[in-house]
Symmetry: C2
Subunit: 484 residues, 2 copies
């Protein structure tokens, strides 16, 4: 990985580590399925995915979004209706051309995203400002015939966990308010997962095809490259105009409605894995761990029943109280191997019980993230675990943010910035607003432009700063990084 910076010692390059951990922890089977860029969510990974999706669903529901489900197939004329949109996607759309032995009259796209098909339906559904704002979402598979090298979860051809939200508004101002709401929702979401991020307005040349502008969330992977993990688009009237979504407005005039859309994908799950994991495997936040607690009974033959009963009693209490608990009763596996196994799977808390613990009415609690061990009385174990769970999630988040911030820095000149970027990360450099200057800076850095700070949520001070290329006064900063 080219001498890249690593957040923590993964014992190997990030790329190798990531492939290893997905397989070793039985999260995602990739590379064996006979279609390039497509993988299988295994039972353990599927559970992890489920708990992550639950968080975003709860958030969206609490902000008044309604879940729907649209067909996977979009007829070519619908997908092509908005000219910028189709130009952006046509190179990477999978086309269905035959049904059975017959060629289809109209070829059908596997949806790359659903702005077109949903807006088409909205033209039937939405007639008046009284119905607005309207906020829909769905969690679905989307398809991109990627030409770049595919990577498990990070760049796939079937994105299996695309949460796309689509909203409709009476005017531009309300769409702008929605963009900020979407940003707030995603901040809360990433904060819950302890994933650090920077929020940037993508440069014109890198916005979503068909949008007025795009706001993006990027995180930093252990190899020092940024990964886009969420985007928010103000679509203006671009789609409602071509699909003729006309509404009656408050003032009784008729106009096209306004829209936003915003999406996240399984890259969020990849980020949780990448940002918190260590050389031993996954390190999962308590909140989303498939099992939050694993109980490992340790015994010799003569105290077997006593220890197992004790372990089962504790597990039952914890799961009756709503925790996700697994008791590892395997007979043919030694305790040391079990520790190793559950470390790889990233279970946040391990409870060891042996005959000593039975005698003392205690348990030994071991944290996955930092290895801390503590003995507690058996009647305090539930409270202790709930408290520890919260503390683990908080500390994981803090640790991740600390590492992230150490690799995010502002520079006035290109040379120091370039030196900094050798260790991975993101730099901010004053920008005059001229595209060609940004391109030149990117080239000199050997990096790509990420975008500018979002001035509606950040206060930006550029007074006295000059563009290092043309020397003109800077109007903002441009961010650069090596990108996935």
């Amino acid at each position: 990985m080219g001498g890249g910076f690593v957040y923590r010692d993964l014992g190997r390059s990030f790329s190798e580590w990531f492939d290893w951990v997905l397989e070793a922890a039985e999260v995602y089977d990739y590379g064996r399925y006979p279609v390039k860029g497509m993988g299988i969510w295994l039972p353990y990974g599927f559970k992890l995915r489920k708990f992550v999706i639950e968080i975003i669903r709860e958030l969206l529901d609490s902000y008044g979004h309604e879940e729907i489900l649209l067909p996977i197939l979009i007829p070519q004329p619908i997908l092509a209706k908005e000219s910028e949109h189709i130009r952006g996607f046509e190179g990477q759309v999978y086309w269905v051309t035959h049904g059975g032995f017959e060629p289809l009259d109209v070829k059908l796209a596997l949806r790359p995203t659903s702005e077109t098909s949903l807006t088409y339906m909205e033209s039937f559904w939405i007639k008046s400002y009284k119905q607005l704002p309207k906020k829909y979402y769905q969690v679905v598979s989307i398809f991109r015939y990627e030409t770049k090298a595919t990577r498990p979860m990070l760049r796939v051809r079937e994105v299996t966990t695309f949460k796309e939200a689509h909203t409709v508004h009476e005017d531009f101002e309300d769409a702008e308010r929605q963009v900020l709401e979407a940003i707030e929702i995603y901040r809360k979401f990433f904060d819950e997962l302890g994933i650090p991020y920077v929020i940037s307005k993508r440069p014109e040349w890198d916005k979503f095809a068909g949008a007025l502008y795009t706001i993006a969330f990027d995180t930093l992977l252990p190899d020092g490259k940024t990964l886009q993990i969420g985007t928010v688009h103000n679509l203006g009237q671009n789609f409602t105009r071509v699909f003729e979504v006309r509404i009656q407005k408050r003032d009784e005039t008729i106009d096209y409605a306004w829209q936003t859309s915003y999406g996240i994908s399984e890259r969020v799950i990849a980020s949780v894995i990448a940002v918190h994991g260590d050389s031993k495997g996954l390190v999962l936040p308590f909140k989303i761990a498939p099992y939050q607690v694993v109980v490992v009974p340790i015994f010799r033959e003569q105290d077997r029943d006593k220890v197992i009963n004790y372990a089962m009693g504790i597990a039952k209490e914890l799961s009756d109280k709503g925790l996700r608990v697994y008791v590892d009763l395997r007979d043919d596996v030694r305790p040391g191997e079990k520790f190793y196994y559950w470390d790889t799977k990233g279970v946040p808390i391990r409870i060891d019980v042996g005959s000593k613990e039975v005698k003392e009415s205690s348990v030994t609690i071991v944290r996955r993230d930092n290895g801390e061990r503590v003995k507690v009385k058996v009647n305090e174990v539930y409270e202790k675990i709930v408290e520890l769970g919260k503390r683990i999630d908080m500390e994981l988040r803090e640790r991740a943010w600390k590492a992230f911030k150490s690799r995010f820095k502002r520079f006035s000149g290109i040379d120091e910035a370039k030196k900094f970027l050798e260790g991975g990360g993101i730099v901010e450099i004053p920008w005059c607003g001229n595209d060609s200057c940004a391109h030149q800076i990117a080239d000199e850095l050997g990096a790509e432009a990420l975008g500018t700070p979002v001035t509606t949520i950040e206060k930006i001070e550029v007074k006295g700063q000059k563009c290092p290329i043309c020397g003109k006064d800077a109007v903002t900063y441009m961010r650069y990084s090596r990108r996935y």
Copy 2:
């Protein structure tokens, strides 16, 4: 619907009623999406679907199934590997032939079902009897390029709610045990939803393509036709042999593993709607209703705040205790219209509160299914609703079974059976076991063979019965109905 029998008066033909209710209750938008046979789950329908899926997930999990997610696309050579299978499906597969502007090297099928792709993966995953039995499932979209007339939810080209389970076993006996387990799971599932059914072994000519045999659940729609709502297949070693899933057995020999698979689809949701609904709209079981209770405050201007506060207080208590409650506060809609609206949506229980109820500290509870009204004290409302919810579900089930049984009858001759079938339903006729006799009976009845009773779960007495075609001794009964 051709003079067909109706379970209850829907005020119009079932077909018209069904289209109407999906639209009026905002369940599913069908017929406007620009791809034939594909519809959209609207927010209300999506919630209904979610609660139905939750029940089957809980059941499968409790029987040791693990949820996974496989890619949607299956390469042609994988799909075609099992010859019976591809012969059964090739006429109705959607093919992806292009990615972007390029033709693909290998054409890719939108999965019609996942036996082939999963068995391919199992050849990597499963090596020993120690891993068995293994029970996987997924809830996904599948695709069938249907040549028959499409109907919303009943016969679609994108089946959006396909729950397919796939299991692996050491020997034939364990696969047989799994078939019975699957039947038990589906019985529980349909019983929870109050959907009556008959369980039949499909005739040889109608089994799943690639199976040893198929067991099917059929229910009866209000037009008197049967609808297949679930199938269970013993796959034998047909797929493991071609994909070389070899396992080490308990006796240390190596052999191909054995498999079963079983599936249900949104036809289950269609059945809930069709079996319980009435002329006013949906009648939903309490367990799966998106809103279990709707509170309608009824007031004049002078007591507005008092009544609304009272209504909100009740709603809060009920939802704090875990019920799904909606308060209809719309200002521009009269109470009568609200009653009509929520009747259409099938909310099982309505709570009316007016100034009289406030004064008396009471509420008026109205059942959707039978219109029964009862006044209860406000401090008893939660207990009353929980009790009513259970009673409603029980009575819906009993009513549906009673109607179903009235249209299921055994005959020894064809003429009486034919007369009975004019009113819709299912008949059983003695069968000698000869296919041509069954075909001839079906022709004479103007019906189709559904299959034979499942003798492992039903005791069948055929002594003295004769096949009405050839006159030979019957070995079992064959069931016939008009089928969807």
